[in-house]
Structures are given as structure tokens and as C-alpha cells.
Symmetry: C2
């Protein structure tokens, strides 16, 4: 039989890209589908949101990855559903695409945990569009306060970050740096020091998966740099101009960053398969989907058991290793070899707090994890992120930006740029529709009778 197996991979994140890379030189036809035409390097999104990096630095065009691989076909399209009987993936623009093997790597979406007003008013930080939207809004708030200083009393310069995990810690740390070091010089007439960054975490510690000493270091460093850390505090309600906390405190604010958690991507709900906590797809030890041995789920969208009976975290490494594993199971099937169980190799976790401050924990064989704090961890963080970034050009550009920011205390991309206020040909682009998790229309910020007429 000369027919090559058709493998459809849904999602060009870390997992989908790893699976496609593993298959690119094998004797299979790969169709890789993503609703964006680029891979997003999620770990650096917060630097786009805080004007440290260009949007283009953390996005890499998928077609650019597979320019020389004729058998990897990319489709910028959206998956509407899967017909398990017909073995087709239904794409919004192209229609049904047949597969022999399917790899579902559609990532996560924001989890608002049903908090009142969160979906309408909080800003998620889970796509490049999200990051650019946060940056535009953040800088616009400073411009508004500069035009009308009375707005500062209304909380226009209060920034609330919800969630004390790595994303929340990173974005809070980057925010104070941007405000204290950069915007303070940009806005001569504005008392920038009245700006507040408040990090709210429900648990009684930051960085839950890290050791107690890393948690203390992160908290101490953030507080010393000017972040107000509220531990043991839940968000009860988010409105257009304030946040109500479980402590009874009401914070006036126009920018609530939601970094409290993720759930499985919406596609997981459309497949008619078994789902675990957070809507994640239940998989067997070979990462195949329950009841559909020809299909795999990997990365953030998959609910993968770890050795100790818990669940693997939603990390880039889990997705990358899972993607490679799923691809290898496909090859094993083709060759008639038995499948193998997925073994996750924990390479450690890191979080950065700001300039020369990070935490890193690297597991050691049979012993306690190696724990790094401060400058060494920060350098390790920089190096590792450069290595995992896709594309030489993006690496060069990020390295240049970091060196520039570090040496000059400046930041480059502080443009407020809204190219798509009037979107063109929305029907061409499935993703031109309002994102399902996007915030609604918030209240006017300026006095209505001063609004441009």
C-alpha cells in the first residue's frame, strides 16, 4: 500500500509544533491547523503586555517553520468539530479534512471560575492579541491620567493582577518596572508614583508549585519593588471601575489582569469525549483519547496523570514532550510496533520577578530540587527562553531588546496601535470574530461631555 497516513494536528503551540517537527521527515502527510498563522511563545506574552518586547518577537509564522517540508501542510483555520465515524476534522473555511491519526493540541483558555464580572471586565493574557490589548489599554490609561489628573483619584492608575502563580508574579513585577523606570520619565507632569500595582492571591502564598523558600523570596522581592501583595484574598466581583475583594476591600481600577488560571481550550468541549478537571481531555498512558485510539490529546488540553497519582501541570515542557510522544505513537502504529507509555521528564520550573530576580527549581536525581534565587536564576531564565524561542530571527530580536532594555532602562514598543478597529473582510478570518473570552465593552473612562464629539 502506497497511501501515506494522514495525520491532522490541531494547534500550533508547543505541543502541536513538537508533534509536527517529529513527523516532518517521516513518510506521513501532516496537516497542521491553527486559528492564527503563527506560533505564540506564551512564556513571554507578559513582556509584550508590559512593552518590553514587540508582538512580532513572540510570534513565529508557522509556514516559516516548515518551508522546506513539503509534506507538512498548514491551515489557518478553525476547528468546528470532529466526526469520529467519518474520521474527519471539520474546518470552518475548508470543510471536512480526513485523518488516519489526530493529535489534539489546542491548548487552554482563560478560567474565570465563575467570578462575577470577570469575563466582562478582566483582561486575560493568553494570546498575542490579549497582550497587545493590555499594552494599548495600560498606556492609554497613563495618557488619560496625564490629560485629566483627576482620573488618578478614580483609580485610573491602579492595576490589579489576579492570581499569584508564575504569570501573575511575572506581570506584576514587569508592571512596576515599566511604571517606575520608564513611564516615570515619559510623563513629566504626572505623579507616576501614585500608580499602584496590587497582586491578589487566594492562597496564603505566591507561586504554589515552588518551594517555601522560593515563595518567600518572590513575595519579598515583589514587595520591595513596590507591588502590594494581598495573600489569602479572593476576588468576589469585578466591575467596570472597581474590584471587590473577600476582605471587604474595594479597589478602584480600570485594568484588572486575569492570571488566575486556565481551563482546557473550547475545542475540548466540542469533541464529545471524556473530560477531567478544568474540561481537560482524559487520556490513556500513551496519551490517546479514551475510546479513540487513533487520536491523541497533548499539552494544556490533556488531563495527564503523573507518577504520584496527581496531574501533570500545564507547562511548555509537558506539551513539547507530549507532542513528540504522540508523534512517536503514530509512527509505532504505522510500523506495527507496540505503543509506549508517556514518561514526563521534569526539567524544572522557573519564574522571573524582574531585573536580576527570578526563581528556578531544577529536580535532582533522588534528592531535593536545586533551588536558585536572584541573578543566577534570572540569567538561567533568560538563556532558557532564548533557546526555546522559535526562529533565529526572533532570538536575535529578543536578545537585542533585552540587552537594550537592560542597558538603557528604556523600553521600545510603547506604541498604542489599533490597526483593526475597522476590520477588513471579517469573513476571511475566522479569528476576526470577537474572541469568546474577550472582555465586554467597559464604561467610558473620561467624562462623557469631554469625549471626542
Amino acid at each position: 500500500m502506497t497511501d501515506r497516513r494522514r495525520v491532522v494536528i490541531v494547534g500550533a503551540g508547543f505541543g502541536g509544533l513538537a508533534a509536527a517537527k517529529r513527523l516532518e521527515r517521516e513518510d506521513v502527510d501532516v496537516t497542521l491547523v491553527d486559528r492564527h498563522n503563527f506560533h505564540t511563545f506564551l512564556p513571554l506574552l507578559y513582556q509584550v503586555a508590559t512593552a518590553g518586547l514587540n508582538a512580532a518577537d513572540v510570534g513565529y509564522v508557522v509556514r516559516g517553520v516548515f518551508r522546506r517540508e513539503q509534506q507538512v501542510r498548514f491551515r489557518k483555520d478553525e476547528v468546528v468539530g470532529v466526526d469520529w465515524d467519518a474520521r474527519t476534522v471539520d474546518l470552518a473555511a475548508e470543510g471536512p479534512v480526513p485523518f488516519d491519526h489526530l493529535v489534539v493540541a489546542a491548548g487552554s483558555s482563560t478560567n474565570y471560575f465563575g467570578v462575577d464580572g470577570a469575563r466582562e471586565h478582566a483582561f486575560p493574557l493568553y494570546s498575542l492579541e490579549d497582550a497587545v490589548r493590555v499594552r494599548n489599554h495600560l498606556l492609554s490609561l497613563f495618557e488619560a491620567a496625564d490629560s485629566e489628573p483627576g482620573l488618578v483619584d478614580d483609580g485610573v492608575l491602579n492595576f490589579v493582577v489576579v492570581g499569584g502563580g508564575p504569570t501573575g508574579v511575572e506581570v506584576a513585577g514587569a508592571l512596576v518596572e515599566l511604571i517606575e523606570k520608564v513611564l516615570e520619565q515619559d510623563f513629566h507632569d504626572l505623579d507616576v508614583h501614585r500608580a499602584r500595582v496590587i497582586l491578589v492571591e487566594q492562597a496564603d502564598r505566591l507561586l504554589a508549585p515552588f518551594s517555601a523558600s522560593s515563595q518567600r523570596y518572590a513575595r519579598k522581592t515583589l514587595v520591595r519593588r513596590g507591588v502590594e501583595v494581598r495573600l489569602g484574598t479572593a476576588v468576589e466581583r469585578i466591575a467596570v471601575d472597581h474590584v471587590a475583594l473577600s476582605s471587604g476591600e474595594v479597589l478602584r481600577t480600570r485594568l484588572v489582569l486575569w492570571a488566575a488560571g486556565v481551563r482546557a481550550g473550547v475545542l475540548a468541549d466540542r469533541l464529545g469525549v471524556e473530560q477531567g478537571p478544568g474540561g481537560r481531555i482524559t487520556v490513556g498512558d500513551d496519551l490517546s483519547i479514551e475510546g479513540h485510539p487513533e487520536a491523541f490529546a497533548i499539552g494544556d488540553i490533556a488531563d495527564i496523570a503523573d507518577d504520584s497519582g496527581g496531574r501533570l501541570p500545564q507547562l511548555a515542557q509537558v506539551a513539547i514532550q507530549g507532542g513528540t510522544h504522540a508523534a512517536e505513537q503514530v509512527l509505532a502504529d504505522i510500523d506495527g510496533r507496540p505503543r509506549t507509555p508517556f514518561r514526563y521528564h521534569d526539567k524544572g520550573t522557573m519564574a522571573t520577578i524582574g531585573r536580576r530576580a527570578a526563581v528556578a527549581e531544577i529536580p535532582r536525581r533522588g534528592g531535593r530540587a536545586r533551588v536558585l534565587h536572584g541573578g543566577a536564576a534570572w540569567l538561567a531564565w533568560l538563556g532558557l527562553h532564548l533557546v526555546y524561542l522559535v526562529g533565529v530571527r526572533n532570538r536575535l530580536s529578543v536578545l537585542t531588546s533585552w540587552a537594550w532594555n537592560y542597558l538603557t532602562w528604556d523600553r521600545g514598543p510603547r506604541l498604542i496601535l489599533r490597526p483593526e478597529v475597522l476590520p477588513h473582510s471579517p469573513r476571511v478570518e475566522p479569528d476576526a470574530r470577537p474572541p469568546s473570552h474577550g472582555p465586554g465593552a467597559p464604561a467610558p473612562l473620561l467624562n462623557p461631555d469631554r469625549a471626542p464629539g
Copy 2:
């Protein structure tokens, strides 16, 4: 008297920036107003539109230019009008701002010359938002054609550039390069060679202000590189899916780039002052506005007579020199010195056609202009644009991008990124309203029953 004179400068383009720079260390209070928070390097917009440069490379945050100059106050705001009796500029967000001297440097806007459908369906290229919109749409058309190859028959890969001036020539040249060298490798399954770039010019030659030999060189080079050049041909009508030419030809297309000309910025119409051709503000030989000696108009928005009874062209150099001159007239007034007439020093003009191909004409004292074609002109063009770009970081970034593009035949920023489909707090941002010159909503590109449900 210790009161410092208040100078309001409207527009942070080449002219407004030059005026503010000239005044930044003088004993005056400067308020610089722009509806964007960044200066746009217009000569390189076409490279953003054709995925050669990042949007952030050609925009520079105005506040970054004046970080150390406390007496230059920036306002991201929109000018609603000027009250000449009260001597105030009325800003949309901040309200009236008093001035002793006013410099109007609000640039141009697209001139559609009343062509039927142009305003609704053509894409202008006169702001960074325009450029990003063109890039998104252009790349989306290739994605659409890849999903549904039948669309190529409908003209989805026909790109029509209207106007054979420098902008039209540059964008047509860059388009064929992008398609032939980059997209041809990105789209394995698509017959990219079916894409057409058609340049339509009403006159019987390209690059009207250049010499006949440069005009011939530009045409020959474009044709050799694959651009279809239609001279002596006017555009009669633009519709959602086609363009009708004066020759009777109807071209099917979904992307018409409008590079046919500019008129004065809309502000010129709101000032109640005398206007010349294209709505440009009539000025005296010191660049002051007729009837308002305390106010100046410079750059694209001003109608400036040249020595031979004609009008100065709408070029960066005219704006820069005019900005400096207006600032010097303000200082002359303050010091009680007489005003001086504006003398434009023509440093020459250039246009680039593509890789190693450009034309440059540099005037020589008392003789014919020095004319350069090809690689030397191209290098001169590269160097000069790097010099005039604002900000060391942007220069570094552009230089890196150019070197990368040149050496690898790759282009970086091919992301289709639409961050503001759902704009946040539109009331904060005057420019969040649909641009007055933006195209309307074009027809659906894909078959309606294939549109995402």
C-alpha cells in the same frame, strides 16, 4: 516679564517634531499634540505593509524623544478646532489649551479624487494602522486562496496598486518581492505564480517628479520583476471584488492599494483659514498663516510657493526644514528680531523599487541633477533612511531586519494580528473611532455557507 511664551504644535510628524526639537532647549513652553502617541516614519510604511519591517520599527514614542526636556509637554489628543480670538486650541479630551504661537503640522490625508468606491473599498497607506491593515489583509488573502484554490480565479491573488508615484512604485516592487521570494516558499500547495501585481497610473509615465531616464529605469525594472504596469490608465470605479479601468478593462481583485495622492489633513478644513489646492493652508513667505501671524502651517498641510512660482512637494525634507523655520520665527518674535522668508534647500529625491534597485536624483549647484540608478542609489536610499529614522533602537532594529531580509531572502513579521477587534474603552482613545478615511466593510470573501458558524 517672566511669563514664558506658550507654543502649541499640532502633529508629531517630521515637521512638528523638527519644530519641537528646535524649541526644546529654548525659554518657551511647548505643547506637542498628536492623535497617536508615536511619530510615524512614513517613508517606510510600505515595508510594514509588505511584511519587511515590524510596525514598531517605524513608530517612535513621542514621549521618548523628549524624556529629558521638561518644557516639552506631549498630549495624545485630537484637535477639534482653534479659537483664534481666544487663542486656544480645543482638544477633544483635555479641552481648550491656550497658545501664544501655533504651529499647524497635521500632515495629509488620502485624496480619493472622488473616484467611485475608492473611499469604501481601497486601502490607503498613510498611517501605521493602514500598513498593518494591508499586511493582515494581504496575508489573509493568501491563506484564503490556500484553503480554497478556486478563489484564485476570482482574483483573490490580484493586487492592484493605484498611482505610479514613489509610494506606488515602492509598494508594487515590494509586493512582487514578497510574493516571489517569500510567500512562494510559505505556500507549498498554492500556485503562487498566479498572483499578479498591477500598477495603474493615469499619466503616461511613472515617478512624475523624476527625470525621464529614472522614469524609464523604474518602469523597466518593475516590469522585469513581474509588475504589470498600466500607464495612461485611470481608475473609473472600485467595487468589493473588482476595479474598472478607463481602458475598459475590469480587473478582479480583493486588494486595491490607493497610492494615488494626498490632500491636506482634515484639520485644515476646520480652521476657517484660506486654503489652496488639495485643501492645503495658504501661508506667507515666513510660513505664517494668512491673517494669523502668530500661527504657522508647515509640511504636507501647508501650501508653500517655491522659487519658480510652483508649489513645494509633500516631502519629509520640506516638513523638517519648515518646522525648524517656523520655530525660528517664534524665537525671532520673542527676541524682537524681524522674521525671515523660508528657503527650501532641495536635497534631492529618491524612490526604491526593490532589492538593489532604486533611483536617486540629487540637485547640483547650477547644473543638472546628479542621477543614480540601481545598486548605488539603493545603498544611498538605505543609508539616508537609517539616518532620518528617529531613535537608536529603531535604527538598530531596522538595520537588523534589512540585513536579515537581504541575506536570507526571508521576511520576519508575517503575523496576521488583529488585537483590537473588540476595542477596549473606546472613549479613552479618540483614535479608536473608525478612521474617517478607512474603507467600509467589504463583501465576504469566502462562500457564505463555508463561513465559520
